[in-house]
Amino acid sequence: MSMQSSAVQSLGVQTYSPREFHRQAHDALGNPQIRANFRKAMDGLMNKRRDVFGDWDLETLRELGANIRLRALAKLPDLLEQLEANCQANGIKVHWAEDGEQACRIIREICESRDATSVVKGKSMVSEEMHLNAYLEEAGIEALESDLGEYLVQLNEQTPSHIIMPAIHLNTDEISEILHEKTGTERTRDVDTMTAAARSQLRERFMAADVGVSGVNFAVAETGTLCLVENEGNGRMSTTVPPVHVAVTGIEKVVEHLRDVPPLYALLSRSATGQHVTTYFNMISSPRKEGEHDGPKEVHLVLVDNGRSNIYQDNELLDTLRCIRCGACMNHCPVYTRVGGHTYGTTYPGPIGSILSPHLMGLEDTKDLPTASSLCGACGEVCPVKIPIPDLLVRLRRESVGEGRGNVPGAGVKRTRKEVAAWKGFQFMATHPWVWRAGTSVAGKLRALTPSRLGAWTDYRIAAKPAGTTLHALVKRHQASKAQEEKR
């Protein structure tokens, strides 16, 4: 498994690391601009999602979505082989990568074989996960993001703060400033003007690009088809204009049949942005054929494992791999809404990030993330494929203190002798009634000695004191007086 994605995340001015979650959360909470940007965006997204599912039997649809993803995972190795065989039969070259580094190398080699110096990218979270842009940059290949949000974030030398809306942390004025400073666009508050400026800047780049890189939303084993969901058209540009198209995807994105796609697509677009449908649904099954006049002459598919086959081993953790990357869990998360995406310091922020990142980066670096939740359950309730995210958060908390099955990298990182001893002592007391009674009675008698400060607990609360009389004693007294009454 790759650990290349460890501590430090972003390339540019701001660096975020999951190790610094608490400090970053503190900073974000003190930044009214960030909080306002996220609050406004998340409120809008929650309302839109609720409205768009209005006339649907949402529960039945979610059930079907979960069911399709479970079926795909149950047959995963067979489906991957079928996908490979059908893609190859269609003329798509298929590559396999055990980790992000291997995947980066494969893409670099494809670029080098074509003497490519410029790559234009459609949105791909897995390429963020493997830090493809930085890798290609080092190899002397320029990688340009073309999704408007990704473009802005890249200009600002940042990483995305949301998996669907990468620039959600920036407001109009900030974006105007970025476009002015980095591209010389006139300062304006008019969104159409800014969009038009980006359009003309990027059109030149589409024409000049040697290679287009994209992600994949669903890979259909039955037909060897790669499906891409988008609104802007940059995904279609990136996969149609350059002479070579490289699609990169996690191995879990495969589905069995073409008919599995409509329910997942319906769930994805509605859950992500509250749209009935996205502007484009782009299904690619082969490179340009003889006689066709446009489209890439070469299409590659890179299947990336990067820790996924490890998650796959465990019946409970497996559910993590059902995810279709809609972002609804973060839109509805009270923690994400307040601290924003960068605070997590990982490629995938919010609840899904907190259950996925520990597998990708190890619990040593990400031990705070499973605790970045009040376990309110909103994420699990809105998940279109019914991933029990709260249960998985709890499972990872157990793993981090060494009480799980130990099959997450870095399991036990938070285990301390003191805590283990405390729980052992508690266990002994709780299973030996006379010790319990003696202990609680003594605690009650000495309640005046309870310290008024109890570490972090008393930062926002007053210290709890043991009751003068234990519950046991109260019940006994009550029963005794009742018995007396009955006798009379």
Binding site: A41, N67, A196, G233, T240, M283, G291
Partner: protein, 226 residues
């Protein structure tokens, strides 16, 4: 061992043992039971709600409607195919018009910059549409390549109302997509758009700013009381 075999072996020798695959019931994404009028009304309502423009026309008069759209929008150069009846009829009807017709049946390498910079609109046929989501479906061909519905600032699509079906699932199943996918299959639901700048909608970010759908049918327009 290759990365491929390592990954597949790891998946096959799963620690918690093999998984059982559940059966799926697709009833929730099909059997809407709409009639032709309801389908058309729903399609129109949804595609206009995302900024698509719909023009109703009788089948025999559609080229007049096209000429009117071109004039209204000031289209000077129109990219279109040659063989598809939509393209062939448009070419005949526009032969004497002021609009310059741009051939698209040539390799993009020969005319990329021209297509990106000097074509005002692209005309294409469609294979059908989806009522539930207000989506057109296209299978680009060598006669009508992929980029004519993407690169020009205006995309004009011609749709026959009787080719509107209820759901995406219905389209896949009825037309047997799984038994032979084209190089590229597309659903298009409105003009290109983004909300990446503070959730404010803007159209035409990379693809067309305008999508005009000429819907050919003899019935009344949806909402029309006649």
């Amino acid at each position: 061992m290759s990365a491929r075999d390592t990954i597949l072996n790891r998946l096959r020798e799963r620690a918690d043992g093999p998984l059982t695959a559940p059966e799926s019931d697709f009833a929730v994404v099909t059997h809407r039971g709409w009639n032709a009028e309801e389908r058309l009304a729903r399609f129109v309502q949804l595609i206009t709600s995302v900024h698509g423009e719909v023009i109703h026309t009788a089948p025999e008069e559609w080229t007049d409607a096209l000429a009117k759209v071109l004039a209204e929008k000031g289209v000077k150069r129109l990219a279109l195919g040659r063989e598809h009846p939509v393209a062939a009829e448009a070419r005949r009807a526009l032969a004497d018009a002021e609009v310059e017709l741009v051939d698209v049946d040539r390799d993009i390498e020969e005319w990329q910059r021209e297509q990106f910079e000097s074509v005002d609109a692209g005309l294409s046929s469609t294979r059908g549409a989806i009522a539930e989501t207000g989506s057109l479906w296209l299978w680009p061909t060598s006669d009508e390549p992929r980029l004519i519905s993407l690169v020009p600032p205006i995309h004009i699509a011609v749709l026959d109302a009787d080719a509107i079906e209820d759901t995406f699932y219905d389209v896949l199943e009825c037309h047997g997509w799984a038994s032979g996918m084209p190089t590229n299959a597309l659903l298009i639901s409105g003009p290109s758009k983004t909300a990446d700048i503070e959730q404010t909608l803007a159209y035409g970010v990379h693809g067309p700013r305008e999508l005009v759908v000429l819907v050919r049918h003899d019935g009344p327009e949806p909402g029309d009381e006649r």
